[in-house]
């Protein structure tokens, strides 16, 4: 009986995490615990024990189709600036990205002119593309040299993401993207342009970088978000 009295009181530390995880506390108690969790590592560990174990009960929540009105409303709330089906399918986005990339391209050209050039004739056969995208910090300048048949990629910003790889794509008009392989972000690299891509390669070709599973897309088409894109222009 006295044992019962011991644990029936308003708050008892050793039950707090479990009670918090279960949602048993009153709003005021809940808020107090939430505040304590920020500084109390032991309590956090306790909470993560309970959350982890109780999550096994999640299977008991019955799947129920969500009302049809929710998705359109969500789209309106989050993406009020127009309805894009997806990054990849949006031609408007590609054009927008290329336009936005112009500023970067100008810088790229500036840098390019500053570097000593062995063969002045090669200059005419060079293409530059500045690759970037809204909402992404990856920005890369691609410089194609017809003499070597290589694209030199220089990272302006962006960093590697664990367990992911960046993949470079070339897109001619409305044809499906062709992979140019997995590329590092954070250092310069020369990519050999394969003959089938070279056939249509020129001003107006879009270069894009998508985030893919380690080793690159398994499907031969981009599967992840486009983190940077830009159109090649002659310089």
């Amino acid at each position: 009986m006295s044992d019962d009295a011991d644990i029936s009181g308003g708050s008892e530390d050793r039950f707090l995490a479990a009670e918090y995880a279960l949602g048993l506390l009153t709003p005021a108690e809940h808020a107090t615990v939430a505040a304590r969790l920020r500084t109390d590592a032991a309590l956090r560990a306790d909470l993560s024990f309970w959350r982890g174990r109780l999550a096994a009960l999640d299977t008991q929540f019955a799947e129920t189709p969500a009302p049809a009105a929710v998705w359109p409303e969500l789209e309106r709330r989050l993406f009020a600036d127009g309805k894009r089906a997806g990054w990849w399918n949006s031609l408007a986005l590609w054009r927008g990205v290329s336009a936005a990339a112009l500023a970067v391209a100008v810088i790229a050209i500036g840098v390019n002119l500053a570097t000593p050039r062995p063969d002045p004739n090669a200059f005419a056969a060079q293409l530059v593309a500045a690759l970037s995208a809204q909402g992404s910090n990856v920005s890369v300048v691609a410089l194609y040299n017809a003499t070597t048949g290589q694209v030199r990629l220089t990272t302006i910003s962006g960093s590697a993401i664990p367990d992911k790889d960046y993949e470079l794509w070339a897109i001619e008009g409305s044809n499906p993207p062709k992979s140019m392989g997995v590329i590092p972000v954070g250092r310069s690299m020369d990519v050999k342009v394969s003959p089938d891509i070279l056939a249509g390669f020129g001003p107006g070709t879009t270069l894009a970088i998508s985030l893919e599973p380690k080793g690159g897309s398994k499907t031969g088409a981009p599967t992840g978000p486009v983190v940077a894109a830009g159109k090649a222009a002659q310089i």
Partner: protein, 181 residues
């Protein structure tokens, strides 16, 4: 199961990179589950629908906080939905008729993919809950799955509040021992 979990984790990661297509896919694959959560806890279709919307706004905004390897991705999503629904519950004015108005939302049958992924953990908690008296195990489930507070549980089980607190705390002590074993 395994691949499915990996795919959902991948969709969340892509949401963090502001990939709207990934968000749409994630919604398509998980909204029925999360609606199940908000509906079961809020027991009101209009409120559950509104909550579901808020939940996905949070998921879109906080996708970068998901840490692969901690929670399974679906558990993380369920936790976002469950915590939001509980917040809504707590913000509600206490209404004595809540319980009578309660929708009868049935337990899900075993969901094959989750069941397979969680079989070990699920069996374990079922086993541990099975060692408690049936009504006490029900109280724990009621708290987790229906968001019942001590007070509601006391009313439902027709015992004084302090008795319910004592029951549940004893049960939690036993559960912890069993789950840690």
């Amino acid at each position: 199961m395994g691949t499915d979990t990996a795919e959902i984790a991948d969709l969340i990661a892509r949401c963090a990179l502001r990939d709207r297509k990934a968000f749409r896919d994630l919604y398509g694959r998980t909204s029925a589950k999360l609606y199940g959560v908000t509906l079961r806890i809020l027991k009101d279709r209009a409120e559950a629908e509104e909550a579901l919307q808020e939940v996905y706004v949070k998921i879109w905004q906080r996708a970068d906080r998901y840490v692969p390897g901690g929670f399974s991705p679906i558990s993380w999503l369920v936790a976002v939905a469950r915590n939001h629904a509980l917040d809504v519950l707590r913000a509600r004015k206490p209404r004595s008729d809540d319980i009578d108005l309660a929708l009868d939302v049935a337990d899900a049958g075993p969901d094959p993919e989750q069941a397979a992924a969680n079989r070990g953990e699920r069996a374990r908690i079922d086993d541990c809950l099975g060692r408690l008296d049936a009504d006490k195990a029900d109280a724990v489930r009621g708290a987790y799955l229906d968001g019942f507070s001590y007070e509601e549980l006391a009313t439902r089980h027709e015992v004084p509040l302090n008795t319910m607190r004592t029951w549940l705390r004893r049960s939690l002590m036993k559960l912890r021992e069993c789950l840690s074993a």
